[in-house]
């Protein structure tokens, strides 16, 4: 109940953000894209985290969904100009357009819902066919095969013989997008992605908590034991794969709506990797983790780390001094933490030990020495930077954001392998209790069940 109330409040908040003047447009971008990525991350988590099938085909199914949606909703009038490379291309009808003509605003919504479901069904159908051979494979072989099929799908969409439908490798645009949704004068372009994506995620949650979900988890934990319990392995794996792809297809369609254009080249393997990293950061096997992580991920990559992409020149010497001091303290702090950890482990940089022969010799911990050298070098640079007349911050230029971002991800992957939430969920009801002052539970729930 609390959950439903919270979700309704969330939608109301989105409605407010959509229509209040002065809301940063970046915030809206992050919210919209984050909601869509949340859905695809959850769909991947259903497969990777709950069924234990390591699949890397998500971008391919998103591609199918996006194209299905786009092809079916491009207005008839603009089909000739969009498909100019392929004479007489396009399907010749537009579901949303016809329904809008017949029923007005409600028709648009109905048309979009129908097309979204069709997008999911197409993706699910392909998943069923692909799954027939592929699901017999295990772990990394399954990963490579699904990755391969995603690439095949991308090649297929760009195939010139299919051009009259898919427009080959050219852009599709002009279809119904989020900005087409209005309620009177109220804009709904952030509410809609939250609504669609929220509904789909709710379905996934219900599925995971059903007997099917328990069967999936049993397969993940131990296939042999699950089979012995009477779970039909092939059937449940196929089901999980198809359902996951169904929602990936819908999220692909939502992404198309968000971008207002689709092109097959953007659905690369790198996209799947990003989604996988979201799932890992959120915690494999945690729905709330995936949702929270996708907003964080999109926020970092689109907004908060933007400043790293701009060449920055500091205003005056004082600003430089402050920057240098902060930087120096961070380097020093990290160095001290690392060395202390090494010393606690009994591996100081230099240690006298008794050699087997009885003589004394010095044992060197090279990684500790390397961190000392690195820290000294960075501090030296820091001092040099203060002395030099240069006011321009180094390294900051186009592309640095993604480097920092991927370094952060690597640190997460290496040192915080459980992700934000591990495999447990953030429970809004418990959070609500703790906020009202029931401190007995707050330690567990407000901390996100970090364990």
């Amino acid at each position: 109940m609390v959950t439903v109330v919270l979700l309704a409040a969330l939608l109301a908040l989105m409605l407010l953000l959509d229509n209040l003047p002065g809301v940063p447009s970046m915030l809206l971008t992050v919210l919209r894209k984050g909601a869509i990525y949340a859905l695809v991350a959850v769909s991947m988590n259903l497969l990777n985290g709950f069924t234990g099938l390591f699949s890397l085909g998500q971008a391919g199914f998103m591609l199918l969904g996006a194209y299905t949606y786009a092809v079916l909703t491009i207005p008839v009038g603009s089909q000739a100009s969009i498909y100019q490379q392929y004479k007489g291309g396009g399907v010749g009808f537009s579901i949303t357009e016809s329904l809008t003509g017949a029923m007005g605003g409600f028709g648009t919504l109905l048309g979009v819902v129908i097309c979204l479901i069709l997008a999911g069904i197409v993706a699910g159908l392909f998943a069923y066919l692909i799954g027939l051979p592929v699901l017999r494979l295990k772990s990394d072989y399954l990963a490579i095969a699904t990755l391969g099929f995603a690439e095949i799908l991308r090649a297929l969409i760009q195939y010139t013989k299919l051009g009259p439908i898919t427009n080959g490798s050219n852009l599709l645009y002009g279809f119904t997008s989020f900005s087409d949704f209005h309620l009177g004068a109220l804009k709904l372009s952030t509410v809609m992605p939250f609504l669609f994506s929220g509904l789909c995620i709710a379905v996934v949650v219900l599925l995971i908590n059903s007997t099917y979900g328990r069967a999936f988890k049993a397969i993940r934990d131990d296939e042999v034991a699950a089979e012995a319990m009477g779970i039909n392995l092939a059937r449940h794996k196929r089901m999980s794969f198809v359902i996951s792809s169904f929602f990936a297809g819908i999220s692909g369609a939502l992404l198309a709506m968000y971008q207002a254009s689709v092109q097959a080249v953007t659905f690369k393997a790198a996209m799947t990797y990003e989604i996988l990293l979201i799932v890992v950061i959120g915690g494999i096997g945690s729905i709330t983790g995936s949702v929270v992580a996708s907003f964080l991920f999109v926020g970092c990559s689109e907004w908060w780390l933007r400043f790293l992409d701009n060449e920055t020149t500091l205003k005056n010497f004082n600003a430089k001094l402050i920057f240098a001091i902060v930087f120096g303290l961070i380097v020093l702090g990290l160095a001290v933490v690392i060395l202390r950890r090494d010393c606690k482990k009994g591996l100081p940089p230099l240690r006298r030990i008794t050699a087997p022969g009885g003589g004394k010799r010095v044992r060197v911990n090279w990684s500790a020495i390397a961190s000392i050298v690195l820290a000294v070098a960075l501090l030296g640079w820091d001092v040099w930077f203060v002395i030099s007349p240069n006011l321009k911050l180094p390294l900051l230029r186009s592309g640095f954001r993604m480097v920092v971002f991927s370094v952060v991800i690597m640190i997460m992957v290496l040192f915080f392998r459980r992700g934000l939430f591990g495999d447990s969920e953030l429970d809004p009801a418990a959070l609500w209790d703790s906020l009202r002052g029931r401190r007995t539970q707050s330690g567990r729930s407000a901390g996100g069940d970090r364990r």
Binding site: R136, K138, G148, G399, V413
Partner: protein
């Protein structure tokens, strides 16, 4: 008829040799760590970029060995940073780490190069045009298969005859027992990455001599195909990887020749599925691991 087939055959053998050189890196790492080194394709691309920068400032006889050495260092560094800390972790974690590393390397390359395609330097003699049976091609097409075979023979000798080769075979057979026999696992694994990255560097020189430009994401596809080649030949088997590489290269070249260029990539993955369904151990693979 023969004149029509020859260009495709030559092209296929050339590309196949390059795939083979990359595939060895995959197959050796998989043989020991049971890990698909997703970053391998990116290491291959980094080698391409290093060559672009090195050839611009120094003569070829310095830049070629330098690029090979730097690529080897990168490969070893990747192993140390991303794979060694996860040695006891589940396989999925290591694979995710490999994917993260691939993502990092791609972004790093994008940052350093500004995302623009770089012109690959023309290597004298290697890029010269030669005429074979009335068909003009660059010399690299002919050198690739020869060089590949020479390197592979040397590698097989290394693995069969030397002590470190024996250690590698032992480690790929059984991790723990090998350790009990006094094999230093970490140095054996480092050595595997040395060999794999070195061959990837050579492969990248041959590959980019044919393709003229380098972009940060160009290595992903050859990387995946080389992995398929490794699976096709039987993972862990070096001659298998080489033959797999050649077969995939030649098939791809002929598919491109028939005008179905779009599906040349698709063919590779279809082949993977078929081989895993029909003969999961590959052509020369030993029936040791559980794959299907």
């Amino acid at each position: 008829m023969a004149a029509k087939i020859l260009p495709y055959l030559l092209g296929g053998i050339s590309v196949g040799g390059q795939y083979a050189l990359i595939a060895i890196g995959y197959t050796m790492v998989y043989g020991i760590l049971r890990l698909i080194n997703f970053a391998h394709g990116d290491i291959f691309t980094v080698a391409g970029f290093l060559m672009v920068y090195a050839a611009a400032t120094m003569p070829l006889y310095v830049s070629v060995p330098l690029v090979i050495v730097l690529t080897i260092l990168l490969g070893v560094l990747v192993e140390k940073v991303a794979y060694r800390p996860l040695r006891t972790a589940p396989r999925m974690s290591v694979m995710i780490s490999a994917i993260g590393m691939s993502y990092l390397l791609q972004n790093l390359m994008w940052y350093v190069t500004g995302g623009l395609a770089k012109q690959y330097p023309t290597l004298p003699w290697v890029s010269d045009k030669v005429t074979v049976a009335g068909y003009s091609t660059s010399r690299v097409t002919l050198i690739t298969p020869i060089l590949t075979v020479v390197l592979v023979v040397a590698l097989v000798a290394l693995i069969k005859k030397t002590k470190v080769g024996m250690a590698m075979r032992a480690a790929s057979r059984d991790f723990e027992t090998a350790q009990l026999m006094g094999i230093k696992l970490n140095s054996v694994i480092s050595f595997t990455f040395v060999v794999g990255s070195g061959l990837a560097a050579v492969g990248s020189m041959l590959y980019f001599s044919n393709y003229a430009t380098v972009t940060p994401t160009v290595g992903a596809m050859p990387g995946l195909k080389a992995f398929v080649a490794a699976v096709f030949g039987g993972i862990g088997s070096i001659p298998g990887a080489v033959i797999g590489g050649f077969i995939i290269g030649i098939c791809e070249s002929f598919i491109k020749g028939t005008g179905l260029t779009t599906f040349s990539d698709a063919f590779t993955f279809a082949l993977l599925i078929v081989i895993l369904a029909v003969k999961p151990t590959g052509l020369f693979g030993e029936n040791l691991t559980e794959k299907v």
